[in-house]
């Protein structure tokens, strides 16, 4: 009986001393990977500018910062601007520097950090038909720039039809 007891005690001690564990203490490792999509996306508000009745040789404009671009891009962008020729349900103006039945638009922004517009309210960028002109340079991520428009009205009118042009702003990688 005593011998059996001693054997049991010895076995218990050995089991207690010898480590009982898993073959591999650490079997997995994680690597966290991150990536940012090169993504350019903007929206613009307001989408319209109803000028109303225009006088010859006038330069009606929006208030400064009338338009806001919501920028959800993941990298710095440039904003360019262009427009269509005037259209009308009747006779249409010619798009160009002010003259008889001829008018154009100019734009500006206070949020350009390089080229493009030199400041808010300056209306220093001619809005072209066709290929866009740089309006706002180097817009940083999460910055929502504002801009404004001015109509340079005809020097004289020979018809009274309402005129429309569509202005387009385009974002590209800076």
């Amino acid at each position: 009986m005593k011998r059996t007891t001693i054997v049991v005690i010895v076995m218990s001690l050995l089991v207690a001393i010898l480590p009982v564990g898993l073959a591999l203490a650490q079997t997995s490792q994680d690597v966290t990977v991150t990536a940012t999509p090169s993504f350019i996306s903007i929206s613009n508000s307001s989408g319209t500018w109803p000028i109303g009745t225009v006088s010859a040789n006038s330069t009606p404009n929006t208030t400064t910062g009338y338009f806001t671009i919501t920028n959800t891009s993941s990298e710095a962008i440039d904003i360019s601007i262009n427009c269509t020729d005037w259209s009308s349900g009747g006779s249409a103006w010619t798009y160009g520097a002010p003259a008889a039945d001829t008018a154009n638009l100019t734009a500006s922004s206070g949020d350009s950090t390089g080229g493009g517009s030199s400041g808010a309210g300056l209306y220093d960028i001619d809005v072209p038909v066709g290929t866009g002109a740089l309006l706002i340079d180097a817009v940083a991520v999460a910055v929502d720039p504002t801009w404004e428009l001015q109509l340079n009205a005809p020097t004289s009118f020979t018809f009274g039809d309402e005129q429309t042009t569509i202005v387009t702003i385009t974002a590209t990688t800076d």
């Binding site: 050995l14 073959a23 650490q26 490792q29 966290t32 991150t34 990536a35 999509p37 090169s38 990298e75």
Partner: protein
């Protein structure tokens, strides 16, 4: 005498029955544990080169498997064999040139036999989605798992 023989047999049985273990705090290690791919264009591939090293100090030869996860952050990217809109791919390789192991969400063998006290460099290649739905940074995990051979 019988008693000592019994004692010896008991000790022998116990030693034989309990494996001699080498328990390390970190049997399998991998470094570094993160990688930033930076800003990605759509439909492009981005290899890391042999940026990672997995090390085995477990006391055993092991097989290393690899699996990935979907990436979260904004509109998530799904991990798939073939990239698509908001669907990305991952490949792995051991020579820094060819990335011939397709990483999926289930374990795939990366290293057939990583012997004890040895290490192996490895790399990843990210295949970006064909188009993005947002510009929010994505984050996901790549998991290495060791199985004793």
């Amino acid at each position: 005498m019988k008693f000592f023989i019994s004692l010896l047999v008991a000790v022998t049985l116990i030693v034989a029955g309990v494996p001699v273990l080498k328990v390390n705090a970190q049997d399998i290690s991998n470094s570094p544990n993160s990688y930033a791919f930076g800003t990605l264009d759509a439909s492009s591939s981005y290899p890391t080169g042999l940026n990672f090293t997995v090390e085995n100090n477990s006391g055993y030869d092991v097989r290393i498997t690899i699996r990935g996860s979907d990436m979260t952050g904004g509109i998530p990217w799904t991990l798939s064999d073939t990239p698509g809109p908001d669907i990305y791919g991952l490949k792995a390789g051991l020579d820094g040139v060819s990335y011939d192991i397709t990483v999926t969400t289930t374990n795939t063998t990366l290293i057939e036999n990583l012997t004890d006290n040895s290490s192996q460099q490895w790399g990843l290649e990210l295949l970006s989605p064909t188009s993005f739905s947002d510009g929010v940074q994505k984050s996901g995990n790549v998991t290495l798992t060791a199985t004793q051979l």
